[in-house]
């Protein structure tokens, strides 16, 4: 490599007994896009946090443009030309684009802000890199994609020569992602170097020059992007082959759940449903695609019995149910909430109480007394059957890892409090972002559970931001945008471009 702009040498970082980064050495060349690939918890974020000075490494050195970078000093990283674009926007909503970009670039004790010069510089930067923005627009009014553009501009405004992007596509539609990739290639042609963090194989292969794969804190491979197969990359990332989920052939059944012109009035846009109609049939997986925060939470809340619709009707198996989670569970809804740590489980209570928490009155209590022995026996069986690993049923549920906690929640929902698999089948499964943050093994397990339950005759509603997941599982797809839902159509009739347009709110034409 001629002149690396960045050289990481033997970076090691421990958190207690966990080794987050284990002697990682990397170089980044001028004009290169390096993808940092790895599962959740592989150490990607820790590595870039060290690079940017948020953490101090236990061992190892960093050089930027041939000079050593002092550890633990974000200001020094900025001064050396390292810029970071975080996954979630760090912009101040109530300020203008120009204010946000200039924020922190001027000394506080100077009485007047040099806004005219700042504006000229912002406009010049935006022209030079082809990133169009309106300097006076308030950030609150910008779309997610535009905010990301502002974040990139903010880094470029400070003369960043190395850009780090942390999972930049997580909040974007496919079209917005494509636009971002074009921007990144443009920046590289201009001589910038980019580190691109992701766990999505397709986009990594599409955008990057080289792929560095992290697994359990170690750098396990550095591969050229061209000529590397997706399956190879997946195996290197996970460390073992992952069999794809298999759907058993099965029949479609009757409609079990109907939403008819449902309206939910929320305070924020993301909590509203605007005239949503949908019917769910047994033996079928219906997926709701969309960027999160477009009303999915309201839809899931209604179908989990957590809140009532303000207008319209919701019927499960022909009956309208009250907004009472217990009633929905009793009527056969298996619920997998999006936020497993804060909604799905009660972390301070032991695993066994969490295993029965949806059915603590029936069948695990009589005359107001919890049937402790039966409940604990059930919890033990549940952990066994759904492979929940941890410190046992008396340990607090909060101590479980994300994957094991999700197995507990999925098991609790799908088992219906019954000891054996053939004793219970949910009528409706509501799964909201069921694989968010899971490693590949747990992800495949959750997918298989959903497919199997569907094949046995349950109706499944899958709400997901992950289009790969939706395309792999769904029989029918509907897209949500700003509280409105497109009609659900067979998965085969959608193209990726269609879904992307609908996610951006342009599918309304089709619906009309």
């Amino acid at each position: 490599m001629p002149d690396p702009v960045l050289r990481l040498d033997g970076i090691t970082k421990r958190f207690g007994s966990l080794v987050a980064n284990d002697a990682v050495s990397l170089t980044l060349a001028r004009g290169e896009i390096l993808a940092l690939l790895g599962e959740n918890g592989a150490g990607k974020s820790t590595l870039v946090s060290i690079l940017f000075g948020h953490y101090v490494a236990d061992a190892g050195t960093i050089e930027a443009f041939g000079r050593p970078l002092p550890p633990g000093d974000p200001a020094a990283a900025l001064a050396a030309g390292v810029g970071m674009v975080h996954q979630h926007s760090t912009l101040a909503d109530n300020l203008s684009v120009l204010d946000n970009v200039m924020l922190g670039t001027e000394p506080l004790w100077r009485p007047m802000s040099k806004r005219r010069e700042g504006r000229a510089r912002l406009v010049a930067t935006s022209k030079r890199f082809g990133l169009a923005v309106d300097p006076d627009a308030r950030v609150a009014r910008l779309s997610v994609g535009e905010r990301q553009r502002v974040e990139i501009l903010k880094a470029l405004y400070r003369d960043a020569r190395v850009l780090i992007l942390d999972e930049p596509t997580a909040v974007l539609t496919p079209q917005e992602s494509e636009a971002l990739f074009a921007t990144l290639r443009g920046l590289c042609a201009d001589g910038l170097s980019i580190i691109f963090i992701s766990h999505k194989l397709d986009e990594v292969l599409r955008v990057s020059d080289r792929v560095a794969v992290l697994r359990a804190g170690k750098l396990v491979a550095t591969l050229p992007a061209s000529g590397t197969a997706k399956s190879t990359l997946a195996e290197v990332m996970v460390g073992r082959p992952i069999p794809p989920p298999v759907a058993k052939p099965h029949a479609r059944g009757d409609t079990v759940c109907v939403l008819d012109h449902v309206v939910v009035r929320g305070e924020r846009a993301g909590e509203r449903l605007d005239d949503v109609s949908l019917s769910l049939r047994s033996g079928e997986i219906t997926a709701i695609a969309g960027v999160s925060g477009n009303g999915q939470a309201a839809l899931v809340d209604v179908l989990c019995g957590v809140r009532a619709a303000d207008a319209g009707t919701v019927k499960l198996a022909g009956r309208a149910l009250a907004a009472d989670p217990a009633a929905w569970v009793a009527a056969g809804t298996a619920r997998i909430p999006e936020d497993r740590r804060d909604v799905g489980a009660i972390g301070a209570l032991p695993v066994w109480e969490n295993a029965i928490s949806e059915r603590y009155r029936k069948p695990f209590a009589s005359a107001g007394i919890v049937r402790r022995a039966a409940a604990r026996a059930f919890a033990r069986k549940l952990c066994d059957r759904y492979d929940v690993r941890g410190a046992g049923i008396d340990a607090p549920a909060g101590a479980l890892s994300g994957g094991n906690m999700q197995k507990l929640i999925v098991g609790r929902a799908l088992s219906g409090g019954a000891a054996r698999a053939d004793q219970y089948l949910p009528t409706l499964v509501v799964a909201s972002q069921p694989t968010w943050g899971l490693d590949a093994g747990a992800l495949a397990w959750v997918h298989q559970q959903l497919l199997d339950t569907c094949a046995r005759g349950a109706a499944v509603l899958l709400v997901s931001e992950d289009l790969d997941e939706i395309l792999a599982l769904a029989d029918r797809i509907a897209v949500m945008h700003a509280g409105r839902l497109t009609p659900a159509r067979a998965a085969s009739s959608w193209t990726l471009a269609d879904i992307g347009l609908a996610m951006a709110g342009e599918g309304a034409r089709d619906a009309a």
């Binding site: 957590v306 799905g344 301070a348 209570l349």
Partner: protein, 353 residues
């Protein structure tokens, strides 16, 4: 500096931590004793002797522990559900006043009822008064999101002023020579003494029984599960199907009722009438006891006896050596802080970068 969660909980540490906490407390309090110019060893010996060293000391300690167990239990029940009842002091006075209103000698005679009926009516009136005082803030919290810490705390002052008004007005004892004190309770409804020639009364047994009952209910019943679930994570509890609002209201009623009962039992077991200084802050000390007990109803019994012993012992100590009784408050307060730190130390370890 940062805290890191320990992996498995070590039983040795779980025992060592509270012991270390008590040791720390004694060391710190010793500094204050030495500052007051008194011999440390002798002061501690006197406190221990005064609190636990004789039959009389025990009887006084247990008499003092009785209302503390009840207010400690009231705080424990509410805090378990993350409902912060700071109003046990007011609920205690309201209960005491209601007890005398029903069981007192108005105009020289009690209500014309058989003693058991009158007793039951007196207890009912006190618990209902306490329950209403806590149910109102809980309703405001669940319905309008009003912070119950503020409402329950401020209600204490309203209740105390109301009691003061009653003691100088309609319920004033005409034979008390101008003292603001209520009419006396009918002797027929007073609680029997447990031990001859001491002040220990049957209220102690009631308090212990309620603590045991609450412990069993918390652990074994669906209501206990609901309370713990709501307290640990109300959102997740709601998702699982726990009726959160109903649970909070029931907890408020139970907590207020127990604090109101503390007032009735003080009147029926010890004072015989209501005065404005009948409680030296039992309601607030109950919060300390609940925290010392780690919000465990059984622990409340031990914590109440410990705190009562220190208070009683310090009283008798201060008569012998020149250390103010306030040393008791220092010991109790520091014991609480040390226990909280000890509880954290069992679960976390400190890392210095």
């Amino acid at each position: 500096m940062r805290l890191e969660a320990r992996g498995a909980l070590s039983p040795a540490l779980a025992i060592a931590a509270p012991v270390a906490a008590i040791a720390c407390t004694l060391v710190v309090a010793a500094l204050f004793v030495a500052w007051a110019g008194a011999p440390v060893g002798r002061t501690y010996a006197l406190i221990f002797e005064g609190g636990f060293g004789s039959r009389f000391a025990w009887s006084e300690t247990l008499t003092r522990a009785t209302p503390l167990m009840l207010t400690g239990l009231a705080a424990t029940i509410a805090f378990r559900a993350h409902l912060y009842n700071i109003g046990a002091e007011g609920q205690l006075y309201a209960g005491a006043l209601a007890a005398v209103a029903v069981g007192g000698l108005h105009g020289g005679a009690a209500l014309d009822l058989p003693a058991p009926v009158l007793f039951a009516a007196m207890i009912a009136a006190a618990t209902i008064a306490g329950a209403i005082l806590m149910a109102l803030p809980a309703f405001a919290k669940t319905r309008f999101g009003v912070d119950e810490v503020v409402t329950t705390l401020l209600l204490n002052f309203i209740v105390l002023l109301f009691v003061s008004m009653m003691l100088d007005g309609p319920m004033k004892d005409p034979t008390a020579m101008g003292w603001p004190q209520s009419v006396a309770l009918d002797e027929a409804v007073e609680l029997p003494k447990l031990v001859e020639r001491t002040r220990v009364h049957a209220g102690l047994l009631v308090a212990i029984a309620l603590c045991v009952l609450a412990w069993a209910a918390m652990r074994l019943t669906t209501f206990g599960f609901e309370v713990r679930a709501v307290g640990a994570n109300a959102r997740a509890a709601r998702f699982a199907g726990v009726p959160v609002t109903r649970t909070l209201m029931l907890v408020a009623i139970a907590s207020g009722a127990v604090a109101g009962l503390a007032g009735a039992i003080e009147v029926a077991g010890r004072t015989g009438y209501v005065t404005l200084d009948m409680s030296p802050g039992y309601g607030y000390t109950g919060i300390v006891i609940a925290m010392l007990a780690g919000l465990n109803p059984l622990g409340v019994i031990a914590a109440a006896v410990f705190v009562a012993g220190v208070l009683v012992g310090a009283d008798s100590m201060s008569r012998a050596v020149a250390v103010p009784t306030y040393i008791a408050d220092v010991i109790v307060a520091f014991a609480l802080l040390a226990m909280l730190v000890a509880a954290a130390a069992v679960r976390y370890r400190v890392r210095w970068r």
